[in-house]
């Protein structure tokens, strides 16, 4: 029968706790770094989600898009036949074409024109899930010539959005007959929705046989992956097949990896990381320097370098934990603040992944500082305490 051994004296904790003001500064430093990382990732996540959250309002289970398309506002059209071919596949209930183009929208007050992104569809198709467009009856207004719905999220520079407002799009008369909330990715400042017939009028000579995005609805209970595989098998290489999560991921990747957005916020996270590392290093280094004689004494009385190594790393991890918790709490508060201040258009949302990711970064940051500063403690010469 072995008795449980009582724990060692937690030297790391006592050393940290001993100098309260210094501990406070250290924790504040870590908290600040944690907060910066959360905010950078939050802005990045919010931007990426605004660039792709319109897909949530698209009524499709599977999407067809040209392999040369980059994201929704930079697409290459593909032949409408692909949709007809797709409709023959087992498990496919309905296929719907979506047409996109840019037009010049004239602000009726300032008379200044600005590029507006246009979605066009057949009003008998349930392409959109927004409450303003979810029944055939609500979409009927679009069937009149030279009409369009305008996005409430369009920038104020596009002018007023009152129903019945008349202005010009590409030097052609247009009447606003409805509003909705959608957005058009990162590139579009404002969006319109019109019928495919009006699309023909505004963008002549562009034919409706060239589709920008194909929406596929599946039979209830159909397996999306299986249908996707069948589509890929049947369709020629001028279209790619994505499920909804896949196409969102593809566009997020486009914005994060191949534009400067990901770089900018990634750099922000990196800078926060470095700042945090330096702060923790400074604190640990000063602590070790102040206690060098004591550490050397420990070595003199028979403690190994490994014990000192563990002590310093423990101090680093403790700082990480103590700084992370308030950092997370502050970040949650600021996320809420940013969300409310932008009336929900900047969807700053904490994700479980981010909570874990920043925690890992924080521990790494402190451990790294610990590793840089620990050398001085481990190499403390026990003979020097006699000098």
């Amino acid at each position: 029968m072995k008795f449980p051994t009582l724990p060692r004296i937690p030297l790391a904790w006592y050393n940290l706790r001993h100098d309260r003001p210094r501990l406070l500064v250290a924790v504040a430093g870590v908290t600040f770094a944690v907060l910066l990382m959360f905010m950078n990732l939050g802005f990045l996540g919010a931007l990426v989600s605004t660039t792709t959250n319109f897909y949530d309002q698209f009524n499709g289970d599977i999407f067809l898009i040209s392999p040369q398309s980059l994201e929704i506002s930079t697409t290459k059209a593909f032949p409408r036949e692909r949709l007809y071919q797709a409709s023959g596949i087992e498990g496919v209930r309905q296929v719907m074409p979506l047409y996109t183009e840019y037009t010049l929208w004239k602000n009726p007050e300032t008379k200044i024109s600005r590029a507006m992104f246009v979605y066009a569809f057949n009003p008998s198709d349930p392409v959109f899930l927004m409450p303003e467009l979810d029944t055939v009856k609500k979409r009927r207004a679009l069937q009149q010539p030279n009409t369009a719905f305008i996005d409430r999220r369009s920038r104020p520079e596009f002018g007023p959005q009152t129903l019945g407002l008349e202005t010009e799009a590409d030097r052609r008369h247009v009447t606003v007959v409805g509003q909705y909330d959608l957005g058009g990715g990162f590139a579009a400042d404002g969006t319109l929705i019109m019928s495919d017939q009006n699309f023909l009028r505004y963008f002549s000579p562009r034919p409706l046989t060239e589709v920008n995005l194909g929406l596929v609805l599946l039979d209830p209970g159909a397996d999306a992956q299986r249908v996707k595989a069948a589509l890929e098998d049947q369709l020629p290489a001028d279209v790619e097949v994505y499920t909804k999560p896949e196409i969102i991921l593809k566009e997020s990747k486009y914005w994060i990896q191949t534009t400067s957005i990901g770089f900018i916020f990634g750099l922000g996270v990196l800078v926060s990381f470095v700042v945090g590392t330096v702060i923790v290093y400074q604190i640990l280094y000063t602590d070790i320097r102040d206690h060098l004689r004591e550490y050397a004494t420990l070595k003199a009385i028979g403690y190994s370098g490994g014990y000192l190594f563990k002590t310093v790393i423990q101090e680093a991890i403790l700082l990480a934990l103590m700084g992370y918790v308030p950092g997370l709490a502050l970040a949650l508060g600021l996320y809420e603040l940013a969300y409310n201040a932008t009336a929900g258009t900047l969807p700053m949302r904490m994700t479980l992944f981010r909570v874990g990711f920043v925690f890992a970064l924080t521990v790494l940051m402190c451990a790294l500082s610990g590793l840089i500063s620990v050398r001085k403690a481990v190499t403390a010469d026990p003979a020097e305490v006699f000098a």
């Binding site: 009582l6 060692r8 001993h18 003199a300 028979g302 305490v385 006699f386």
Partner: protein
């Protein structure tokens, strides 16, 4: 020459019975600092035996190599030339890991107390007890030894709340708690006033007698020379004299002023 001091020869003046094994046995020990052109010899051919129960004071001018010898015996440096047996173990040629093991059997008392400001007196002592793996009894052991040095009431005070003498007594308690057979002390009274210094050495003397351990102390403090059984004088890295306190005092009395006096 008027000096009556015998030159160190490896046979101390007050040798106990020959059956007792020396706790420190130094033979022809030399030590160098630096390498290559900067190599400088600081200890020359030292031979010395210290026996259990002895308090030995090592004196000598600064730079004479006392501290170097003390750190070599304390396994804080590795010796390379000659032979150095401490508590029956040859230190010459040992690796740093083995030296750490040796150090656990030695009690160290430093000029500065070197206590952790963040730990209480008892916890500072417990840090030493933990080395033995005794976690269950560490608190009791620490409090017991603190009582022996007269600090039972102060066990839970941090160093900042203790006087200089009390801090040094905590450091002594830390050195003694594992009942080492050898205690090495470097100027333990230098930072203390006369009374505290006297208390500290009396305490060490008592403990040496009770536990039968060897105490080797470097000091310049003439006020405490009387506790020594032997006084070793080191000059320029060589063992200059090895005498009883009485002989030493006679030799250094003002009336017999000689050049050695000025080396002190």
């Amino acid at each position: 020459m008027s000096s009556a001091l015998p030159i160190a020869s490896g046979s101390p003046p007050d040798v106990p019975t020959t059956s007792t094994e020396a706790s420190i046995q130094v033979r022809n020990l030399s030590y160098f600092f630096g390498r290559g052109d900067l190599r400088k010899q600081v200890l020359f051919d030292i031979s010395l035996d210290l026996y259990p129960g002895q308090i030995v004071i090592m004196t000598g001018p600064s730079g004479s190599g006392k501290t170097t010898l003390l750190t070599l015996i304390g396994a804080l440096r590795s010796a390379t030339e000659g032979s150095l047996r401490v508590l029956g173990q040859e230190l010459v040629g040992l690796g740093s890991r083995q030296l750490v093991e040796i150090r656990r059997n030695i009690g160290f008392i430093f000029q500065a107390h070197n206590l952790f400001e963040s730990l209480t007196a008892a916890q500072n002592v417990e840090m030493a007890v933990e080395l033995t793996g005794n976690f269950r009894g560490k608190r009791q052991q620490a409090v017991d030894i603190l009582s022996q040095v007269g600090l039972a009431e102060r066990a839970d005070y941090k160093p900042a709340a203790l006087s200089g003498g009390q801090k040094q007594r905590v450091a002594i308690a830390r050195a003694l708690v594992n009942q080492p057979q050898l205690i090495l002390a470097d100027e333990p009274t230098a930072a203390l006033d006369k009374q505290s210094g006297r208390d500290v050495v009396t305490l060490m003397q008592q403990l040496a007698q009770e536990k039968g351990c060897t105490i080797l102390m470097v000091t310049h403090d003439n006020r405490i020379l009387d506790v020594a059984d032997r006084i070793i004088n080191l000059v320029d890295g060589r063992l200059e004299s090895d005498a009883s306190p009485q002989q030493y005092a006679d030799a250094h009395a003002p009336k017999s002023l000689d050049q050695k006096m000025f080396m002190m």
